[in-house]
């Protein structure tokens, strides 16, 4: 099976299950609202009667933030200047991914992030089961039923992935940069150091990409094959990926590129669109919601395309049964 075919069929599957995007979006919105409400109340209490309020609605005020952030705790710590940029959140996330400093906003926010990982595991189970099912059509009942049915598997995989990433950041990251520092040595040239470090980060990025891919396929296999052991599926995923290396990596690279394109386009639009009036503010909000929808759709396309590729390649590799006479 060609990479492009897997991608096309993946897109088609997601298209057939558009309601899944809506369900996941609504859940995201509700979760965000739960945490945004206390923040809103706090901001209102802080600046509701101050003249800086009107400015804050349209523009980040550094002086105010400096004072606010000094005593910020918990969720308040996530308020930062980079939130106001079109591209900065992308870099924020890239930095978190490669450095592993997920607790930099405090343990409360870190715990919320962990909770979200398991919430995502629940919905991923529902989505992958839809794509793996021969009927391939969305019903709310089936979606939630499958999400519940496979949750223990996906939660186990998520836990394993977290442990693996912890080891990755604790051991592999320092080891790679020890090598980088050894190469740079006592050089007086910052450009040399810059490019060697970039190499280190690229290696880390490739490893994160591979680990993520392995766990994606492990999820697909545990649901498609209805396996009992999640850990066995990690091994099967590794075997599948390296058995079909060009296609699996090619497909995920294609999806990643599309993701980067989406982020770049949305970043550019949000950078150019600096709201000065309330309707522009509303427009920015709408665009941001569309971007979130696009992210969800893209994530589902990852799973759908991976499921298609796995099923097709597995079928092609399966021994042909002899016809009974």
């Amino acid at each position: 099976m060609k990479i492009v075919d897997a991608f096309r069929q993946g897109v088609s599957l997601v298209d057939q299950n558009r309601k899944a995007i809506c369900v996941i979006y609504l859940v995201n919105l509700c979760v965000a609202a739960i945490f945004a409400t206390p923040l809103f109340i706090l901001f209102h209490k802080q600046v509701g009667a101050l003249t800086v309020r009107d400015e804050l609605a349209f523009k980040f005020n550094y002086a105010w933030w400096s004072s606010f952030s000094f005593s910020a705790k918990g969720l308040e710590e996530t308020m930062r200047p980079t939130l106001s940029g079109g591209f900065a959140p992308l870099f924020d996330n890239l930095e978190l991914l490669l450095s592993g400093k997920f607790a930099s906003f405090g343990w409360f926010v870190f715990a919320l992030g962990l909770g979200y990982v398991f919430l995502a595991a629940f919905f991923n189970g529902g989505a992958i089961a839809l794509f793996a099912d021969e009927r391939k059509t969305f019903t709310t009942g089936r979606f939630f039923s499958n999400a519940g049915l496979y949750f223990h598997h996906l939660a186990a995989l998520a836990t394993t992935a977290l442990v693996l990433f912890w080891l990755f950041y604790k051991l592999l990251n320092p080891a790679i940069f020890a090598v980088v520092d050894g190469i740079v040595g006592d050089s007086l040239s910052q450009p040399l150091a810059w490019f060697v470090n970039l190499g280190g980060y690229l290696i880390l990025f490739v490893l994160v990409f591979l680990i993520t891919m392995i766990f994606d396929y492990a999820k697909v296999i545990v649901i498609s094959e209805k396996k009992e052991s999640s850990w066995l599926c990690i091994w099967l995923a590794v075997k599948f990926i390296f058995g079909n290396f060009g296609k699996t990596v090619g497909l995920n690279a294609l999806l990643l590129l599309i993701g980067v394109a989406v982020v770049l386009v949305s970043g550019l639009v949000l950078t150019l669109l600096q709201p000065t009036q309330i309707f522009l503010l509303a427009l920015v909000f709408l665009i941001q919601q569309l971007v979130i929808l696009a992210h969800i759709a893209l994530r589902l396309t990852f799973y759908a395309s991976e499921t298609v590729l796995y099923q097709q390649q597995s079928a092609a590799a399966a021994p042909v049964k002899k016809r009974k006479r």
Binding site: S66, S67, F70, P81, A88, S189, Q190, W194
Partner: protein, 611 residues
Amino acid sequence: MNKVIYLLFLSLFLSAAEHAAAQQSPKVVSYKIDVKLSPEKKTVEGVETLTWTNAGATPTGELFFHLYLNAFKNSQSTFMLEAAQRPDGPSFYESVKNDGWGYCEVVSVVAASPGNFKETPLTPVYVQPDDDNAHDQTVMKLVLPKSVAPGESVVLNIEFISKLPHKGPRTGYHQNYFFVAQWLPKIGVWMDGEWNCHQFHANSEFFADYGEYDVSVTVPMEYVVGASGVLADSTAGDGQKTLRFRQDNIHDFAWTAWPNYKTAVRTFEHPDLPTVKMRLLYMPEHQKYVDAFFDATANTLKHFGLWYVAYPYPQITSVDAVWRSNSCGMEYPTLFTTCVDWLTPKGKQQPLGLTIHECGHQFFYGLIGTNEFENAWMDEGFTTYATSRCLFAAYGEGANTKIYLARQGFGIPFTLKNVPRDPRDWIVDNHRGRGALDFMDRFSWDYVNRYAYRNNAYEKPALMLWTLENYLGDAVFNKIMKTYAERNVFKHPKPQDFIDIVNEFAPQNMDWFFEKMLHQPGVVDVAVTKVVSTPAAALQGYTGHGDEMELIKAEEKKKDDDEVFESQVHVRRLGAISLPVELLVTFENGETIEKQWDGEAAYKIFYFSGK
């Protein structure tokens, strides 16, 4: 008579700048030094001939010298012991171990005083005036055969070897790069009947008398050299070259040598200021920043020159210090070091800010020679204040920036164009977290830690000056700063000298202000914590008295047009230091009311009533 008129006219046409340029410092010291750099041994060896004149009011039979490089002689020096407590202490140990240590070894000293005593060999003795740490050899005492009376001079011939530390702070070597500062046996300051010659501390800089430096350095031919002063002469031969630099009216001398430096020269010109040759030594990879380095230097010479006092020397040398050399961001008379990352975010205003700051020290340190050991805030704080002022005047606001994935020279620079940043923001940010650590008016090594030093030397005094400017108004404050600068060129002013000038021009005595700012730890921070505006409550209860007393159960609600609102604004003092505060309240109908608060209490509620 004609001559008098001519002189009068000459005087009228001489600009303030030329007056400053013509001004001479008291020539307390005269150094003639001849040294040779050995890149292999990382040493500078040579002979120093120092003529020291007793400019004090009392005689002295002893001379005290700084041997700053001995701070890096061993792990038990006062500097190293204090540095070990600093956040960057351990990394510093990494760079000096494996023979990265440094020292200044005095091989011999011979003294003579014309008309007083003949040439006499002297024996150096190490003393520790600050902490009695016997391992510290950063201060040397010489006992003279006879006292030197006020106005008399003594000539000393000192043979010395200085071994430079590996990536030492402000001075040292990094491979074949050399930044040679605090490298010579340097005499202390004889003032108020005693030697002001402190040991070298981790949180302190320097203090010295003005005079003349005539320094010849011999280096391998391929080395590019930058130094304080002006190149007076050069000779070459046998694969080596000797460069002679001279400068009067300075109190320190630093130089640098590296084969890979690129150099550029431009001229600073301004109708009201003296022309200055600007020489830049920079890393080849920083070619794209050359314009910025020059522009920031020129803006400093212009703004500081117009606001305070003109730069009187013919040349200024800026050095783009080599990456990871630890010599970036330092000031020496007529020479300063700056630096920049290979990639830096556009909105960060670098290397502009750092260049302005270090070049700005030519004024608050170079020309106005405050004691950096004892009053660090008078050079760092004044320069930090003036830097933000100059940066804003020349370049306006910067933008918020971030370096992503920053480590060991790497980083993805990013500018948040839509989040502007005032050049003062970083000062406020740092001060907010460190303000309570200590108070300002202390010796720099007495602060509780490095952060307290940073806050009290840089951030708090800068904010104090901004506050004073806002409180007194631009016109008065600018006059104060200009007067302070002009009166103290080539002098060693103390805090009271500045306070006296403030009191001279301020409409009220400001001692109360300085008492709080210099002697109280804490920040000045006031917040509006609550604003409430509600319709006035209906009148209930008894009114009148005697027979006319009447019980009112509830007033009828008045028409909307007549409705009276009662408003409260709660203002709370968050910081420990109280200063007067102005409050501007704007009502929905556009009416504004201005209120004053002395800021003494923890909080105050302002009440307003109106339609």
